[in-house]
Amino acid sequence: MNLLEVRALVKRFGGLAATDGVNLDVRRGEIHALIGPNGAGKTTLISQVCGTLQPDAGSILFAGVDVTRLAADERARLGFARSYQITSLFPSFTVLDNVVLAVQARRGSSFRFWRPAAEETGLADAAREILQQTGLALLARRMARELSHGEHRQLEIALALATQPSLLILDEPMAGMGGEESARMVSLIEGLRGTYSILLVEHDMDAVFRLADRISVLVAGRIIATGPVAEIRADAEVRLAYLGEDEA
């Protein structure tokens, strides 16, 4: 069962095909890693999946529905959630209020003008639960801008989870993290396995091999291989194109 299906997707910037006929499936409940060298077009592909960039050709299906022409916010309401490679939070909100804002996006209309949001205990309770799950509970009252890099990355995930998505798109969640922080992030993502379908873009090969059910390899805008972890590790073409320096 595929939750996400990307079909023959093409995106050109001038003469360069940054996405060159990409096919990609994310099955329900799997962690699907997307790897590839720098400049392979991973973020361009992710942006089209999330709806912030329109493809030139091809289609994107979500639970069998064509979402290719839907805007980013419409896709989010269907169940897409994204964490960003470069931290993207609400710096002048507290950690708790960051998550409350995300919870609020999926719980009823926010065209409410009179009742203080602070009195809606349902919002704060749901947000606290997410903070607990992502290991941020003790930081709830801190301003988001005061957090460390690793904590920012955790809050990124918390915001994505708070919208109750079915598809999580994690764009390099380990970027810029030290060993210990990385390990914590790996176990956080491990804990999400089965509950969400996850498309994971990551450079940290140890993390990818530990977490992924399947791996797709993107090189120069094309998927050159898709398969289970062991198969991709053994694939000669992949080793040549990408894993060469890491795994040889």
Binding site: D73, F90, T94, L101, Q104, S109, F113, R115, A117, A118
Partner: protein
């Protein structure tokens, strides 16, 4: 963590008791102002206080847009002027019924809201400097349209035969009119405060902080911004309607971009995104103008210097100083 208190609605904690008491104290002072002014033989200050409250209302409506929603508009005078012209045109075309405050003032708000829907629907497709320029352009277009309205005084503007009428209240009296203005200003401020702390206000603050992220969380950002733009326009229209009554006069100058600029200066002086910013800014600006104008024709230089000082030393504005001191 203490400084988080300066961002209304962005946190869940409640204010200290004396911070909650401050608005009531201010209100009591404003209620007591007319008898005090009369006792001192300074009736002039009643009209002056009405002007402060009306400009404060205008600036507060702009603060919702700029301070809460992060939409820097330089064309807010369009809605202010629109409100004034609706009152003026109704009174001219339809003496008697057109002068009923209960009809003319809501009509002014509705017309300004409709105008804001039109201008906002187009302007909000752009961002940043382009948004500033396109709102400015729309307002200037309306300014030139008003210049051509020969039936309503053209570029000279036009006097109202009398103020709007309210059943049971004589608005011709400056004191009665002041109390009506005070009631409307206080009501609008209460609404504005509720709105900022409600879900809608949180969403606007989120958009100001990180619009792309709000979209990826699933918020239809454009719809929220347009709604804020229309609400803001409606209250600017109410301020315009009151100002036409206060001065018994309306003219194209109410739509001139200088008016938009003054409102923006008031908001920055008073405190961007602070509920009290618009009122505090209007009070400080108009008092400064009054005091400095007694010494020099070039009073604007003094206001400019103080604006610079505020921007550099109190970036949260004058009302922000109050919230910080804890």
């Amino acid at each position: 963590m203490e400084t988080s208190g300066t961002l209304p609605g962005a946190r869940l904690e409640r204010d200290a008791w004396w911070q909650r008491a401050a608005p009531l104290a201010a209100l009591a002072l404003l209620v007591a102002l007319p008898p005090l002014a009369n006792a001192c033989g300074q009736e002039f200050y009643i009209g002056f206080a009405s002007r402060v409250l009306i400009m404060g209302l205008f600036a507060t409506s702009l603060n919702l847009l700029v301070g809460t929603g992060g939409m820097v508009s330089l064309g807010h005078a369009a809605f202010f002027g629109c409100g004034a012209y609706v009152v003026g045109i109704l009174a001219t075309e339809w003496p008697g019924k057109g002068e009923l405050a209960l009809l003319a003032w809501p009509a002014a708000m509705a017309a300004s809201a409709a105008l804001a829907l039109l201008i906002g629907a187009i302007s909000l497709r752009t961002r940043g400097v382009y948004f500033i320029m396109i709102t400015l352009a729309f307002a200037q277009m309306l300014f030139y349209v008003a210049l051509t309205l020969k039936a309503y005084g053209g570029d000279d503007g036009m006097s109202l035969a009398r103020r709007s009428t309210l059943p049971g209240i004589d608005l011709a009296s400056d004191v009665s009119f002041y109390y009506v203005v005070l009631t409307l200003a206080a009501g609008s401020l209460l609404l504005s405060g509720r709105l900022a702390a409600a879900r809608f206000g949180r969403v606007l603050l989120g958009i100001k902080d990180n619009e792309a992220r709000m979209e990826s969380l699933g918020y239809p950002v454009y719809r929220y911004k347009l709604t804020a733009f229309v609400i803001s326009g409606a209250f600017a229209g109410l301020a315009g309607a009151l100002m036409a009554n206060q001065n018994s006069f309306f003219s194209p100058n109410m739509m001139h971009w200088e008016q938009s600029g003054i409102a923006l200066v008031m908001v920055i002086l008073g405190g961007l995104g602070n509920l009290w910013g618009g009122m505090a800014g209007a009070a400080v600006f108009l008092v400064l103008e009054e005091v400095l104008a007694a010494f020099t024709r070039h009073w604007a230089i003094g206001v400019g210097a103080i604006l610079l000082a505020v921007v550099f030393f109190a970036p949260r504005g004058i009302a922000g100083l109050w919230a910080q001191r804890r």
